[in-house]
């Protein structure tokens, strides 16, 4: 057994610039940020922002609307459901599972948007 390291050949592909992924022009367009790439990423951003804002608006109205409801319809402040005052039932309990459900829905839809985007880019 000898300790001398073996000879290895070192080669280079000698390509100029970055190699494009073959057959995936959309990915290259994204990477190089040409007009098509710009349109693609803008469409993804629009979809994701729209989703986030729509869900935020739903919760803004449902939960954020409660103080206004209590203010304009004072009877709702004393309403009892199942023996518990409505404001306590909602703010002390029901609101938490609904926030979680909203989060769950968002994660599902946001991941679907991203999957669609990846499909679009990889298929083209």
């Amino acid at each position: 057994m000898s300790d001398t390291p073996r000879r290895v050949a070192v080669t280079s592909p000698r390509t100029r610039g970055v190699r494009r992924p073959p057959g995936r022009p959309a990915l290259a367009a994204l990477d190089e940020q040409d007009v098509v790439g710009d349109l693609l990423i803008r469409s993804l951003m629009r979809a994701q922002l729209g989703l986030g804002l729509r869900l935020a608006a739903v919760f803004g109205i449902l939960i954020g609307g409660l103080p206004l409801l209590f203010a304009v319809a004072p009877r709702t402040r004393d309403l009892e459901v199942l023996g518990i005052a409505l404001p306590w039932l909602v703010l002390g309990g029901a609101v938490y599972p609904s926030l979680w459900a909203g989060g769950w829905l968002y994660v599902r839809l946001a991941e679907r948007n991203e999957r669609d985007f990846v499909d679009l880019v990889e298929r083209s």
């Binding site: 919760f59 703010l91 938490y96 990846v118």
Partner: protein, 560 residues
Amino acid sequence: MSPDLAAVALVVLLTLGIGAYGLRLARTTSDFMVASRGVSPLWNASAIGGEYLSAASFLGVAGLVFAYGADMLWYPVGFVAGYLVLLLLVAAPLRRSGAYTVPDFAEARLGSTAVRRLASVLVVAIGWLYLVPQLQGAGLTLRATTGAPAWVGAVVVAVVVTVNVAGGGMRSATFVQAFQYWLKLTAISVPALFLLLAWQSDGAPDLAGPAGPVFRETTSVRLDAVVVVDVVERVVVQTSTGARVLDPGTARLEGVVVFPAGSAVPHVDRIERATGDAWARPLSGAGGLEHPLYATYALVLATFLGTMGLPHVLVRFYTNPDGAAARRTTLVVLGLLGTFYLLPALYGALGRLYAPELLLTGRTDAVVLALPAAMVGGALGDLLQSLLVAGAFAAFLSTSSGLLVSTAGVLLQDVLRGTVRDFRRASVLAAVVPLLLALAATSLPIGQVVGLAFAMAASTFCPLLVLGIWWRGLTAPGAAAGLVVGGGLSAAAVLATLAGLVDRGWPAALLAQPAAWSVPTAFAVMVGVSLATRGSIPAGVGRTMLQLHAPEVLGLSRGR
């Protein structure tokens, strides 16, 4: 040693012990600083929950509900909803940005060291504002349960946290905090169960009702200092110097005062006496809260939008492997927090019946700790109280560690600059300042001070993150102007409130809950100045947006 002190010692030892265990696992500098990103979503979510549930959640929410009623339920709702907003608008892009702190994000997105430095100053300011009530809560807890002077608890927490953070960095913080979430959940839910049983066996007395708080039995109240109270009904009390008649109006009480059974509880002058019905009804202004509709909406805005800008929240996102994992972790956090927040309000409500003397002493933040002795008593009561003390200390320690890691990190990168060795020095500096503030400042309710920190975060980092992630038009001058205006306005309101400059009417309400006007102003300034300086939109904004929003699986080149 009393069981309460034993509980504190146990939590401290476990914290340091798990910290040291984590330290053994942290071998490289990158392990040390960011936990190598090898943390599973449930661990990471538990750690986020553990770090987030602070003195405000464990003691403060119950104290506020106890004193001011139904409107205070918005505090915990906002603390959780803030995570939903964070999930909807910033979680995944923020993780993809690769930023470890808000200043990192600002610099990467806008390429400006000036904005970076501004953001650093704000991180430290918000971090310190948030640390002060944690340390005060520790002082209050030890005083309420063992009679130790208030500074003892504050110093204990500051020292333990500094040792742990300076010695262990992020890796051990993750383990410690994940453990502390489960400790806190146990510590608040087990006693709650026993308290509910005690309430049932007491004949389930009405928690609201037309009467105000009364002493249900002969009650001896010990006052360490002179307390000015409002007496509503004539009552004869026993003091150390004999019987004393209290007539309706203001009275100054000190020493030991014994109230007869069935007498109305005189309230400390900053809390107005409310009937149970008014207390249970939203927008009734119970406890002397002025302009409740405005205050509610301003609080909603501060908490919903402020969570994303808290210094210790962003750091945690860095430990997720990618954007999708950041989303899933946030979802688990929503579940963990929602479970916890079902409980504090219960303590506040039971306190009206069983610990009304705290409305006289004004130590409303101690209501959680007072109930086991008042309702269960005996050895079991002592045990439950010790469990609550352990949970409270877990809260002070975990939130303080998180805040300390982030403020020390920012101090290190932008003030001291250097290696891990300096991180230790930065941690000490980051802990000393809030400790001095906590010892010097008069204490407002814990929950309220934490609410102010949320308002400051919402007025500065919320516009920076939301606009930075979704709007290409944001410029460095625009961001800087927005941070200066939003930070300046909210800081001025916070200082005026802490100093008690205005205490009545609209000015007081506007200053106590600044978010409703400071957040829209900050957004408007940031957008307006950015539009006016359109020429200085960063050249690489297209690449940055690609990095923030394109899914990692595409394998596009990341970063610069």
